[in-house]
């Protein structure tokens, strides 16, 4: 659906986006992840034809953003970082205006306005001035505006920024609900969001794509070995963590045991094993046979946060890393 090849955007002194490549298949939700200033917004603006690329190509639904911008725009719904609202307009009036801009008219327009309002749960503020709406409503009107013409592709720039936790959940659910019929690219710098909503992640840092993969693969990739988290407690309320550590260390296939934290009557350990050798059964047996309680045993999925930090850190210039290392 979306094809990006060597896309580059240069400003007078800086290169905001530097030869990035990625593809998005139809119906996918793709998370665009990166720290602030990584080039997420610039990339999205190029995809929506708001900015022209300095070099490289991008096609949306087979149309080039430079050659046939009108065709591209017809197929894209875009929610910029700040929802593009006119404070002096009423919600329904605004949606009608946007619908007309996108080429809708007559009964079709009214139908789409009602549908978008319902979909984004803004029917109750239809007659309110946009300038008087709360942040959450403004964001949802922005979303309604993006889906009004039923576009193939939705491009959402930080759709949950500035919302409260409840609204964030609602917005995420809304986006997930839209996924079936639309291809969605959403940018964010909030990691759990990607884990929860997206199937595919594109991590971008300093204008370059650092990693493109599915969330699960990325987690597996970031750590070569598997690891499990154990919570062990002593029978009599006392536990010697070092004893557990030595015991577990002695098992076959275990490469490293870390004591992560002490809890009331025991401790939490993270056990890394060599890839492919499942040791969970051995671990459980070892703990129980030693007379300890096994309170918890679960695979430790590396959070995207850690992956993200790892990936973006490795991009740090060598001299800078050295300078930091040299400091006492």
């Amino acid at each position: 659906m979306i094809n990006v090849k060597d896309l580059t955007k240069r400003y007078a002194r800086t290169t905001a986006v530097d030869h990035i490549n990625f593809d998005v298949a139809k119906g996918q939700i793709v998370g665009f992840l990166g720290p602030n200033g990584a080039g997420k917004t610039t990339t999205m603006r190029m995809l929506t034809c708001f900015l022209s690329p300095s070099s490289g190509t991008a096609t949306v639904a087979g149309f080039d953003v430079l050659e046939q911008p009108l065709e591209v725009k017809r197929r894209i719904g875009y929610l910029p970082e700040t929802p593009p609202l006119y404070p002096e307009m009423e919600t329904a009036e605004y949606l009608r205006f946007v619908g007309q801009l996108k080429g809708l008219s007559g009964a079709e327009l009214e139908k789409r306005v009602d549908y978008s309002c319902e979909r984004c749960a803004i029917t109750d503020v239809k007659k309110k001035l946009l300038g008087k709406l709360s942040k959450g409503y403004r964001q949802r009107v922005g979303l309604a505006q993006a889906i009004i013409h039923n576009p193939d592709v939705l491009i959402l720039d930080e759709p949950t920024a500035g919302l409260d936790p409840k609204q964030i959940n609602e917005t995420r659910d809304l986006i997930k609900g839209l996924a079936g019929s639309h291809t969605i690219i959403l940018s964010t710098h909030i990691l759990p969001e990607v884990e929860q909503t997206c199937e595919q992640v594109i991590i971008i840092n300093k204008g370059k794509v650092v990693a493109t993969d599915s969330v699960r693969n990325l987690q597996a990739r970031a750590r070569g070995a598997e690891s499990v988290v154990l919570e062990v407690a002593g029978r009599n309320g006392k536990l010697e963590p070092s004893a557990v550590q030595t015991k577990l260390q002695g098992l076959g296939g275990v490469s490293r045991v870390l004591c992560k934290q002490q809890v009331d009557s025991g401790a939490v350990f993270e056990v890394e094993s060599e890839k492919g050798s499942l040791v969970r059964g051995d671990l459980a047996r070892a703990v129980v046979e030693s007379g300890w309680d096994l309170n918890e045993l679960r695979p430790a999925a590396m959070s995207l946060e850690e992956i993200f930090l790892q990936l973006t850190k490795s991009e740090m210039p060598a001299e800078k890393a050295q300078a930091q290392g040299a400091q006492p």
């Binding site: 708001f50 970082e81 700040t82 593009p84 006119y86 404070p87 002096e88 205006f97 946007v98 801009l101």
Partner: protein
Amino acid sequence: MRNILVICRKELGSYFASPIAYILLTLFGVIFGYFFWVVLGSFLNYSMEAQMSGSSYPMNLNEQIIRPLLSNVAVIGLFFIPLITMRLFAEEKRSGTIELLATSPIRDIEIVIGKWLAAVVLYAGLLLFTAINFTFLFRYGHPDWKPLAIAYLGLLLQAGGLLAVGTFISTLTKNQIIAGAVTFAVCLLLWIVGWVDYETAAWAHVLSYFSVVNHFESFARGVLDSKDAIFYVTVIFTGLFFTARSMESLRWRS
């Protein structure tokens, strides 16, 4: 064409949803009303004097009231035009709504013409106030309506040109005050370049050619001079062309 009307309607809606349109209409109404009252007063005095002294100098509503008044309007308009155009693009750039327009499947030139058209319609609304005053002349006298119509056409053409220039300037900045101030300075310059008095110098002729007010003189007399009409139309096209170019250049800058 449809897209132009969609944009134009939305812009007019914005003018009238905010106090801008009402303030401009009120101010213009008051200022023009004052001028009308003053000119009418001196016309009445003059006609009374003429009656008493028995002179038979012909009195003419067109020449003695309408023409000087509309020439004044041409100048008052210069002060109102920056207020009309300054928000057109600067506001959209500041609030980010320009992203909505620029990513909608419509051409830049349609956005530009739509916005400019809304500005022209609002200016025409201002002129409507002058028409209210003139209806009194028609009620109590017999002015000729044809030169009046031509003068209105001239006013619209002149304003159309300056509004196009103002629209262009509004695309250059995010700041409405800057857009307004620069437009005002340009309007003022385009008026006073007509004051040069170096008869023989060629550049003086060139300068005075650019005076938007000088070109209005033929219209005020009720003469449709193609030379002046073409000047205004050229200004309109040039202004709108540069506005569209400027919008396009936004895609290359940040």
